[in-house]
Symmetry: C2
Subunit: 159 residues, 2 copies
């Protein structure tokens, strides 16, 4: 076997060592770093800057719950309803989402995907699945189950 190139492990990049101190053991800090890394990887995978993870979640939730209201969508995606107003304005203008009126409650809208919205979502879903597989490989199958279980406890316990 030719020892052509040395592994990059011996790289002498002078990345300064930063001590984390108490942050080393804080769950919240690590949640933020992991979420940031995950979103960045997802966004990079998709490429289109107008279809970031939040838009994907919105569309996926509408697809699973046709006729959902903006407030219900707000709760499910953990975003303020005013945030959804502008996001949905954008998705409607781009022809991906329909804001139908709900006849039984004239205050609310009934959200649905357009045919083109379903196409775009399908493409995003393949990226999301690939992204999730990448995360799966990092934590392993047992790790994934444990991770989801722990995250759900935090999500449900802090309401």
């Amino acid at each position: 076997m030719p020892k052509a190139t040395r592994p990059r492990k011996d790289r002498v990049t002078p990345v300064p060592v930063v001590r984390l101190g108490p942050l080393e053991d804080f769950i919240g800090f690590h949640l933020r770093l992991a979420q940031e890394a995950s979103f960045r990887a997802f966004a990079q995978r998709v490429g289109d800057r107008r279809l970031r993870p939040s838009r994907f979640a919105i569309m996926a939730l509408i697809a699973e719950n046709p006729g959902i209201t903006q407030t219900a969508l707000s709760r499910a995606s953990a975003r303020d309803k005013s945030t959804l107003t502008t996001a949905l304005d954008d998705l409607v203008v781009r022809g991906l989402v329909l804001r139908g009126r709900a006849p039984e409650d004239r205050r609310s809208y009934a959200l649905m995907l357009t045919a083109r919205g379903r196409q775009v979502l399908a493409r995003l879903m393949t990226h999301a699945a690939a992204h999730d597989r990448q995360l799966d490989e990092l934590v392993g199958p047992a790790g994934k189950l444990a991770l989801l279980r722990l995250l759900r406890r935090i999500i449900g316990g802090l309401d």
Copy 2:
């Protein structure tokens, strides 16, 4: 005493069930929900809206690494360096952080906490510790270790 209005009848709040579909199993989606919940609980605990989790992390990292540069702080906190410019402007104006010049490299600054910055950080740290204990109780001691281990794998694996 003003006329008492009777409280409304306690009714079972009809929180609409939202189906998550594929999102049910996506790690990234749950990371975001957990981070959002944690962030919100921390902010509520602290109260002061000008000392949110990101400011806390910045100050904690400076305290652990006196003389750190903005770029190193940017990497450690996973925030763009331009984000740190404005955040540090604010902390400096409020007398919590010092931007000292680094004599050996006149491009960079050497960040340090002021005495008042250390006081403020100490107060934030008690809130952070209480917050983390709350998370500990949700996941249990073994769960915390597992969670940190899994999150670190994701953080390190997506670079």
